[in-house]
C-alpha cells in the first residue's frame, strides 16, 4: 500500500508542500530552519514538546472536548442560588446573536473607518451606561469589577494627591484581594467597620478614620452581602468635608429601581456588566465599568480607552475616535495613567445590546421582579426553624445572607445535602467573614420561579428537620 501522505493542516494553508516550496524559493532560502538563523544553538529547544498527539479531525476534536465538558453539571441542569459577583440573569438571544458575529468576535484594533461599527457599538454602550448611572463619562470596559474598583481607587489617589483609601469591610473578599494587590505599595488600604445588626457602614468608625491623608471612601451598593446602603449621602458628605472622594461600586441591574450613586454624591462609580447579557462562563463573562462626571480632572485620570463621537468630512455623518488618547499608556508608555490593553470590549458591546432591549421599562420591571422574588425567598426561608433570612435588618436587592447559626449546621454540610437534590446552595461566607460562621449568601433573580424557591425551602426543611 502506498504510504499515506500527511494532510495539510486546515488551519495552516501554506504548509501545503508546493506552496511552501515556492515561498521558500521566493525568499531565497533552502528551508525554514535558515529563517531562524538569529536564534543561537544554545537557546534552541532540542527536544520534542511532550504534548498529546494532534486530534486532526474536527469531528474527533468535538467529541473529545465535549466529553470533558460533559463532566460539568451546569446551573441550567440544576437550581442555583450562587451569586456573589457572578450572577445568573437571563441572557436574551439577541445578545448572543450579536456577540457571536464574526465581525465583532474576530475584530481587534482596526481604525475608526473599517472598524466604525466597533467604535459606535462601544460608544453606544458608554452612552447607555451613562443614562443608567446618570453620568456623562463611562469607559470602554476594563477586565471586571475588581479592576474597575482598583482603578477607581487609584484615580481617587491621583486626583486628591493622597495615599490612603478607606474601604467598607462588607466588600467582596475576592475583589478585596485584587484591590490590595493593585494598590500595593502605592496606596494604603484601611477597612471601615459595619453595624452588626443592619450591615450598614459604621459612620462613627468612618469619621474616626478619615483624615487629611484620605483619598476617598469606597463602598458597594447593594453591598456584597446584598443589603442596600441608604446612608450614601451622609458618607459622601463626610468624604467631601475631608477633601476626599466618594467612590461607589454598584450592580447596574439594580438601577431600574434604585437611585444611581451619582444622586447621593458619588464622584467615581464602578461595577460589573456580566449581569447585563453576558453568560457566567465560570467567571469568564465579566467586564468592569468606571464612570464620572464630565470634568477634565476626572477624565484625564482614566487609563481606559474612551470613545467619543465627532463629525466627518461629510455633513451629517457620525465619526468616532479616541478621546484624550495621550493620557493612555498606548500614547506615552509609563507616563500614561496606569495601563491599557485588551480588556473586555465584547462584554461591553453585549451589555449595550442588553440595555437597548431592556429599555427603561424593562429595567424597572426587572428590578421590581428581582426584589419581589428575593423577598419571597427570604420570607419562606425564615419560616424554617433555625434559619434566619436575611441576617441583616436592612432592605435587600437580589442577594441576602442566610444564617444557619441556630440550626447549628455548617454551610458545607447543608450545601452537600442540597447538591444531592440538585440544588446549588448559596456561597459559604464562613471562610471569609469570621462573624458570619454558618452563613451563606443566596442570590435570587428573575430566572428563579416560585417553584424553584419552594423546592429550596422544602429541601432545607428536610435537611434541618
Amino acid at each position: 500500500m502506498k504510504k499515506k501522505e500527511k494532510p495539510t493542516h486546515p488551519y495552516i494553508p501554506n504548509s501545503a508542500p508546493k506552496i511552501k516550496a515556492k515561498m521558500l524559493e521566493e525568499i531565497g532560502v533552502k528551508n525554514i530552519e535558515e529563517l531562524y538563523a538569529d536564534i543561537p544553538a544554545s537557546l534552541r529547544y532540542k527536544g520534542e514538546l511532550n504534548l498529546p498527539e494532534a486530534i486532526l479531525s474536527e469531528s474527533a476534536l468535538k467529541r473529545h472536548v465535549e466529553g470533558i465538558l460533559a463532566k460539568n453539571r451546569s446551573c441550567q441542569e440544576s437550581i442555583s442560588f450562587l451569586g456573589g459577583g457572578c450572577w445568573p440573569h437571563y441572557v436574551p438571544a439577541i445578545c448572543d446573536e450579536v456577540n457571536q458575529r464574526s465581525e465583532f468576535l474576530t475584530a481587534y484594533a482596526g481604525e475608526p473607518y473599517e472598524d466604525h461599527g466597533r467604535f459606535q457599538a462601544l460608544f453606544e454602550y458608554e452612552s447607555l451606561m451613562g443614562e443608567l448611572l446618570d453620568l456623562d463619562v463611562v469607559n470602554v470596559p476594563t477586565y471586571d469589577w475588581s479592576q474597575a474598583a482598583s482603578t477607581s481607587i487609584r484615580m481617587a489617589g491621583r486626583i486628591t494627591g493622597r495615599r490612603e483609601m478607606l474601604i467598607s469591610d462588607t466588600i467582596s473578599p475576592d475583589r478585596l484581594l485584587a484591590i490590595r494587590n493593585y494598590c500595593r505599595p502605592v496606596v494604603n488600604i484601611r477597612m471601615v467597620g459595619h453595624d452588626p445588626e443592619t450591615g450598614l457602614i459604621d459612620l462613627d468608625d468612618l469619621r474616626s478614620k478619615i483624615s487629611s491623608s484620605t483619598s476617598g471612601i469606597y463602598f458597594e451598593n447593594p453591598s456584597f452581602l446584598g443589603f442596600i446602603e441608604p446612608q450614601g449621602k451622609v458618607i459622601s458628605d463626610i468624604a467631601h468635608e475631608n477633601g476626599a472622594l466618594s467612590v461607589v461600586g454598584v450592580d447596574p441591574i439594580s438601577l431600574g429601581v434604585i437611585v444611581p450613586p451619582s444622586h447621593y454624591g458619588a464622584d467615581i462609580v464602578c461595577g460589573d456588566i456580566q449581569g447585563l447579557g453576558n453568560h457566567m462562563s465560570f467567571g469568564g463573562g465579566h467586564g468592569g465599568f468606571i464612570a464620572t462626571r464630565d470634568e477634565e480632572k476626572f477624565v484625564m485620570e482614566f487609563p481606559s480607552r474612551l470613545f467619543g463621537i465627532t463629525k466627518t468630512a461629510v455633513e451629517g455623518e457620525y465619526g468616532f475616535g479616541d478621546v484624550a488618547y495621550d493620557r493612555t499608556s498606548f500614547g506615552v508608555r509609563e507616563e500614561g495613567k496606569e495601563f491599557v490593553g485588551t480588556h473586555a470590549a465584547l462584554c461591553g458591546i453585549t451589555a449595550g445590546v442588553y440595555l437597548s432591549l431592556m429599555g427603561p421599562k424593562g429595567l424597572q420591571e426587572l428590578g421590581q421582579s428581582i426584589m419581589q422574588r428575593s423577598q419571597y425567598a427570604m420570607k419562606k426561608l425564615s419560616e424554617i426553624k433555625g434559619v434566619k433570612a436575611p441576617l441583616f435588618t436592612s432592605p435587600h436587592f437580589k442577594e441576602f445572607v442566610v444564617s444557619f447559626k441556630e440550626a447549628r449546621k455548617t454551610v458545607e454540610k447543608i450545601n452537600r445535602f442540597l447538591l444531592e437534590r440538585n440544588i446549588f446552595g448559596g456561597v459559604d461566607l464562613s471562610p471569609h467573614f469570621p462573624e458570619l460562621e454558618n452563613c451563606a449568601l443566596y442570590c435570587v433573580t428573575e430566572i428563579h420561579t416560585k417553584e424553584d424557591i419552594d423546592q429550596l425551602v422544602r429541601a432545607l426543611k428536610e435537611c434541618l428537620g
Binding site: Y11, N14, L24, I27, Y36, I39, S42, L43, Y45, L49, L51, A54, L61, K62, E66, A70, N72, F104, L105, A107, A109, Y113, E114, D115, G117, Q120, E126, S127, G130, E131, L132, D136, S146, A178, P185, I228, V259, P260, M280, S281, F282, G284, V299, R305, K311, T312, A313, V323, D326, S329, F339, T342, H343, A344, S356, K361, L363, Q372, E446, T449
Partner: protein
C-alpha cells in the same frame, strides 16, 4: 496546485448603512424584551417589592434608555457589525504584534455550550471537574511549551499578566526585605508599552533601553542600567521589530547577578513555539496571550487571557486559586504561601482557556511547530515583497531574516510624496484591509507593523501586498488621492479636533447632546 491567479485589489465597498445612534431609534412605548411575570402567589406574599426600599433610595425617574422593538435592536447591531471588519473577513495581516490568526469556529460551539457558559465560578468542585480538567491540562501544556513550572490563567490580558509579573517581582523582593531598595524595572523601547506602564503601577521607576543599529538593546547599556536598585527586567523577544535578540541569555544573567528577576513578555510567541523557550533563556516568569498565539478570538479587545508562568521558586507567589490534582480529582488550591492575592475575579476568562486547550489539541506537538514555521515563512515572504515597494523599508538587521513580524517604515514614501503611514492605513480601508501604524513612540519613522501568522493563504497575502503596491503607486502619482482616503469605507475622513478638547469631547450621547445640540 491550481493555476496561479494574477493578484489584484478588489472592487470593494464596505457596508454603509448610515446607521443612527441607538438613542435616535427611541420610540415611545416600544419594547425589546419582556420580563417573566412574577407569580400571583409571590405578589400576594410580598406585595410590590420596591416598597421595601427606603424613600431616598427609590429611583422615581427611570433611566433615559431608548425604547426600541426587538427586531429593530437586532437590525441596528447587525448593521453595526457590518461596519466592522474582523479577521474572519479581513486579510488581517496589518495588525502587527497582535497575531490575528484564525480562531476555529468549532471552539465557539464549546464556549457556547451550557456546559461551559452556564457554569458559576463558585460551584462545588465535584460539579466542575470538566472545567478544572481543562484548566489543569492547559497549564501542563503551557509548562511544556515554555519550560516554566507552573501557570496561573487568571490575568485578563497581556497587560494584566505584566501587572501580575511586576506584582510577583515586588512580593519576591519584599519577602527578602529589599522591596524599598529595589525600585527599578528595566525594559526596552521595542517591548510593549505595558511592560513599562503596568510595572509603573506597582510604583516602579522605569528604565528603558533603546535599540542599536541592529534594532537591539545593547548588553553594555544593560550593564550600566543594573544596580542594587534593580528589581527586574521585563522584555519581549523577538521584540516588536521581529528581530530575535541572540544575546538574551547575557541579559538574564546580568539581571540575575544584580539580584533582579527576569520576566519574558511572550504575548506573541507565535514564531517560536517549540523552537525556543523561556526556560532555555533563563527567565523566571513569562506569559502567553491566549487570544494571540493560542487562537482565542480578540473580541474587539477582550475578554482575553494572559497566561502567566513561573519557575518553581516563584510558584508560591502566583495569584490564587490554582488548579491541582490529587490523583483522583481536580481541586482549587488557595494554599500558596506568598500569593500576591488576585488580579482578576474568580478564575479568569474560562472561554479563552477552553479555546486554547482545543487549539493545542487540534495541532499537537508537530502542528504547533508547523504553525510557528509557517508564520515565520509567511513573514519573511512579506518582508521580501515589502522591501521591493518603492518608499518602504525595513529598518535594522539588514540582510537578516525576521521571526514572526517586521516593523517597517514609510519614511522614504513620506519624504518623496508627503503621504504618511496614517494616510496609507486609511486608504487600505478602501480595499477591505486594515493596516496598523505601531505603538508609540514612533522610534521607527512612519512605522507600520505586519504580522501574517500561519493562517492566511499565499494568495491572500499576495492580495494584501497588491493593496500596498497600489497605494504606493497612487502616492507617487496622485498623493491627494491617498491623503483624502477613505472613500469606500463606512465613513469619510473623521474630524478629530473635538476629541482632545474638554469643551467639545463627547464620551456619551447625553454629553454630545449637551455640548453640541444644546439640550436644555
Amino acid at each position: 496546485m491550481g493555476k496561479e491567479k494574477e493578484p489584484k485589489v478588489r472592487n470593494f465597498h464596505q457596508a454603509k448603512w448610515d446607521e443612527p445612534v441607538i438613542f435616535e431609534l427611541d420610540t415611545d412605548g416600544e419594547r425589546g424584551i419582556l420580563i417573566p411575570e412574577v407569580e400571583k402567589e409571590i405578589e400576594e406574599c410580598v406585595g410590590d417589592g420596591v416598597s421595601a426600599l427606603p424613600e431616598n433610595m427609590r429611583r422615581e425617574k427611570p433611566p433615559a434608555l431608548p425604547e426600541v422593538g426587538q427586531m429593530r435592536v437586532l437590525k441596528h447591531y447587525l448593521r453595526l457589525s457590518q461596519h466592522c471588519l474582523g479577521a474572519d473577513l479581513n486579510v488581517d495581516l496589518g495588525q502587527g504584534t497582535c497575531t490575528m490568526k484564525y480562531s476555529p469556529k468549532v471552539h465557539e460551539e464549546f464556549v457556547r455550550s451550557p456546559k461551559s457558559a452556564e457554569l458559576h465560578p463558585s460551584q462545588d468542585e465535584s460539579t466542575v471537574q470538566g472545567a478544572l480538567e481543562i484548566i489543569y491540562k492547559l497549564d501542563t501544556f503551557l509548562r511544556e511549551i515554555s519550560g516554566m513550572d507552573s501557570f496561573s490563567l487568571q490575568p485578563g490580558g497581556g497587560s494584566h499578566a505584566i501587572l501580575a509579573m511586576a506584582s510577583i517581582i515586588h512580593a519576591y523582593h519584599d519577602l527578602k526585605g529589599e522591596a524599598d531598595q529595589r525600585d527599578e524595572i528595566i525594559t526596552t523601547i521595542f517591548s510593549h508599552p505595558s511592560d513599562a506602564a503596568a510595572a509603573a503601577v506597582k510604583g516602579y521607576k522605569i528604565i528603558t533601553l533603546y535599540q542599536n543599529e541592529d534594532g537591539l538593546p545593547e548588553v553594555e547599556a544593560l550593564k550600566k542600567a543594573v544596580s542594587e536598585r534593580t528589581a527586574g527586567l521585563l522584555i519581549t523577544n523577538p521584540e516588536d521589530t521581529g528581530i530575535f535578540n541572540p544575546r538574551i541569555e547575557e541579559f538574564t544573567k546580568i539581571v540575575h547577578e544584580a539580584g533582579g528577576l527576569c520576566g519574558y513578555d511572550q504575548a506573541n510567541a507565535n514564531g517560536i513555539l517549540g523552537i525556543t523557550r523561556a526556560r532555555e533563556a533563563d527567565f523566571d516568569l513569562c506569559f502567553f496571550n491566549l487570544h494571540k498565539t493560542f487562537s482565542s478570538p480578540h473580541g474587539c479587545g477582550g475578554p482575553a487571557t494572559g497566561a502567566l508562568g513561573v519557575t518553581e521558586e516563584l510558584k508560591d507567589f502566583l495569584p490564587v486559586p490554582v488548579v491541582d490534582h490529587d490523583g483522583k480529582k481536580y481541586f482549587l488550591n488557595y494554599n500558596l504561601a506568598h500569593t500576591i492575592g488576585k488580579v482578576r475575579s474568580f478564575h479568569g476568562v474560562f472561554p479563552a482557556f477552553l479555546r486554547a486547550y482545543a487549539w493545542v489539541r487540534s495541532l499537537g506537538p508537530e502542528g504547533l511547530k508547523e504553525a510557528a514555521h509557517i508564520a515565520v515563512l509567511n513573514n519573511n515572504y512579506i518582508l521580501k515583497k515589502v522591501k521591493e515597494l518603492r518608499g518602504a523599508s525595513a529598518p535594522y538587521a539588514k540582510g537578516r531574516h525576521r521571526i514572526e513580524q517586521v516593523r517597517y517604515s514609510w519614511e522614504e514614501l513620506t519624504k518623496d510624496t508627503g503621504v504618511t503611514t496614517e494616510d496609507v492605513t486609511f486608504r487600505m480601508a478602501d480595499f477591505g484591509f486594515h493596516l496598523w501604524s505601531s505603538h508609540h513612540p514612533f522610534v521607527v519613522p512612519q512605522p507600520f507593523t505586519i504580522e501574517p501568522t500561519e493562517s492566511y493563504s499565499k494568495e491572500e497575502i499576495d492580495e494584501y501586498l497588491t493593496g500596498l503596491r497600489k497605494i504606493v503607486e497612487e502616492a507617487y502619482e496622485n498623493p491627494e488621492k491617498v491623503k483624502n482616503a477613505p472613500y469606500r469605507s463606512v465613513v469619510h475622513k473623521i474630524d478629530n479636533s473635538t476629541l482632545d478638547d474638554p469643551k467639545k469631547w463627547a464620551i456619551t450621547w447625553r454629553a454630545y447632546l449637551k455640548k453640541h445640540k444644546q439640550r436644555e
